[in-house]
Amino acid sequence: MPDVSEEKPDTIQEELKKSVQPKLSDNVAVMEAIMGQSVDVLKRDFMLCGSTDHPGAIYFLDGMADATIVDVVLKSLITYGSERKLDPERLTTADIIRTELMINASVKPVEHIKDAISAMISGDTLVFIDGVEQGMIVSSRGWKDRGVEEPASENNVRGPRDGFTETIRTNTANVRRRIRDPHLRIEPMVIGTRTMTDINIAYIQDLVKPGLVDEVKKRLDGIKIDAILESGYIEELIEDSPLSPFNTVQSTERPDKAASALLEGRVVIFIDNTPVVLIVPTFFWQFIQAPDDYYNRYWVGSFFRIVRYFAFLISLLLPSIYVMLVSFHHEMIPTQLALTIASGREVVPFPVLLEALIMELAFELMREAGLRMPKPIGQAVSIVGSLIIGQAAVQAGLVSPFMVIVVAITGISSFAIPSYSSSLALRMFRFPILLASGTMGLLGFAATFFALLLHALSIRSFGEPYLTPLSPYRPSDQRDMMLRAPMWMLNSRPGFAQDQDRMGHDQMPAPPKKDGSQ
């Protein structure tokens, strides 16, 4: 048994190296050797122009190839020639057949079996004709698609509702539709020796920093892996600081985010079979900014951005600050508050640190359970969770009401961060800081926080410092960092983009002057 399974790939590898033969029977034999008995590989024999001297065969994958296109292929091969009184004898090369007979948009001659097979597996139709030296690939990809829907993990109120899907071409089209600029380049690549996953690298040629695209390609080329099932595989294999808990590659489901990244001179990596695209280079602040910031008026945009910065700090630090104050620095709490906290804790049997850990874990547990649970019983989690955590635990004297409030605010804050993947990272950071402040007080709190800060300062994303534009400080980029300046002030691109000019200056709208001049 082991011998057979070991031998088999070898023969397939051998067969794959072959070229397309003029004799149909040779080609059919090779195809059968390679594809075996797979039920979804369909073969359809035909006679070219109805002439029995010229037999041929098409191969396509059931479900991957669009049946109507396959019909058109067969129609043009069998009937169009005889209708137009074409002499089958003249149709000796793939080129002639393509130009004179085929009416499909994309017909490519193919010489190597390997190319032919990979095209067929991708959903194209493969045509072999007896006596023709080359095969032909007719583009017929068409499979059941989820369709463009609202992104599940990144919601907004004002702004486009379309999200990426699992089909790479739909995704690139979604971005292309937003940027009708001939400078937009979308370059193909295939990664995964078995999955042969399509990767597209998109960038705007005159905006992207020189060398960045090469660096991205270099890193992608370096990936030697059998399978890419999701963009996470790629993300982990190309990031700058693989040991860092910070995300140095941004991921999004929103075409408008991807488009804006391209316009900022960044590179977007599309991966087939996943609605999540990757954006590099990435800066920390992007995880706190949301598309709504730009779609709403700048007052609103700036305000909610500040709210999110607070949410970030709260979700990271609030439990630690509470634990630190209540177990070490009682003098830092105002007397009234100290009394209230002390009275709430009067019957709690655990130290604050343990109480905080229990509650935080319970919260994470509920979140995870709510996520994994089949949808119909999802409600049960929230009911049980809120009742147990919010009500019963306090009444039983297991936790103090204050701790419930702290954990709830922390949890809510972590959901206010637009980027789901980075909010996950933040949630994890919370625990080391919590442990340090619960054992070492302010000292531990400050030490871990600064260690985190120093680490964030030290890492880079595709050569760009992670905390840009705060450190290194770029004055012109401050207009779109903590606050979102009005649109008429955002007249330059981020510092690393090539072409800085975005729009004309002095665009602040004003009523016409009295003398009629603008």
């Binding site: 209540v326 009682h330 009444q395 103090s400 009401p401 000292l443």
Partner: protein
Amino acid sequence: MKRIGYCILLIVLVVPMLTSCMGLRQINELAMVAAVGLDLGEKPGTVRLSAQIIRPADARGQTGAPSGGTGEPIYSITTEGSSIFDAIRNMGQISSRRVYWAHNFLIVMSEQYARKGIDDMVDFFTRNHELRMNTWVAVSADKPEEVISTVTGLEVVPGEAVDRLFRDHRIPGRAPGTNMMSLEESHLSSSTQSVIARVSLQPRGVSNKKPGEHGSIQQVELKGAAAFKESKMVGWLTADDARGVLFFLERLDKGIEVVTCPDSSTDMMTLEFNSAKLKVTPSYTQGSPKFKVRLTTSADIVENGCSQTTEQLRKDAGEGLDQELTKTLEGVIDKAQHKYQSDFLKLGDVFRNKYPTEWKKLKGNWDDAFSEAEITVVVETTVKSGVVKATREGIK
């Protein structure tokens, strides 16, 4: 790389053990002191310390968690020791929770204690890291343990009630707001003496159940002050004197004064003065300092019991207020100069700032120089507006 990683891991694991959670105390394991009383102990040379400790479970209404039962919001204990710190340590023999001082509102000293000298108290309460410099300080003729264990009406925690009294002390203007910071400052200064607010127990509370018994419940009153010389209390100041002190020490700018009507000695009117400014101008002639105290203020007539119109009253009212305020200021200056011979009005500070070299000469016997100094008081009031009131003859 790997070795560095292991080293960091080791440090991370070991460091928390080294701290052994030093200083870790749960907030509900603390006996938070809201007020502290200082008195002389029964044995000579000892200190009696009493503390008002908050019981959080009863000081705060519980919603949700079962509370420790309904009882008194405070727990007052008293101990004796040969020093303040000794007495505090002795508290550990009684208190089940660690006595925690950082939230202390108030320090009350008994008159006897204050007369014996407050060096120890100032030293201890400024030196200890757990104690705050914004703690209010007061002297009482009553027993401090009674003062601090008296439950007040509005606030749940009595210490907090006294804290509020102190915070708003400028509204009645009958006692200085003295805290550890100002006390230490005046205590350590060579050019000024200390003055500390006075609290006392007064039967002012009216029982809801027996309203007939007027003033049957003792309440803490903040009124008057105690004058100090060096570190010893030398005597009391009345509420009027205390207002005078406030003009000097806290630049009191608002207050009310009741003056008699110009045409009658029984009718009264009330004036509210504001934007009062006190300016002390020192001068130095032939070895003796002189001070000119000038108070300018403007006043409104807020309650007019006189039978004249405001317009007629305006001038006389100003004069009446002048007299009252002059009397107040002269009264306290007289007490400082002659009765106690203690410069708690910070006139020495003013003099030193203007005449630093002369100050060096006078420094040694400033108390004598101060008590012999010539101090003139000038009060200037302008009555700007007043209540619109019809005279008894009808509207004119």
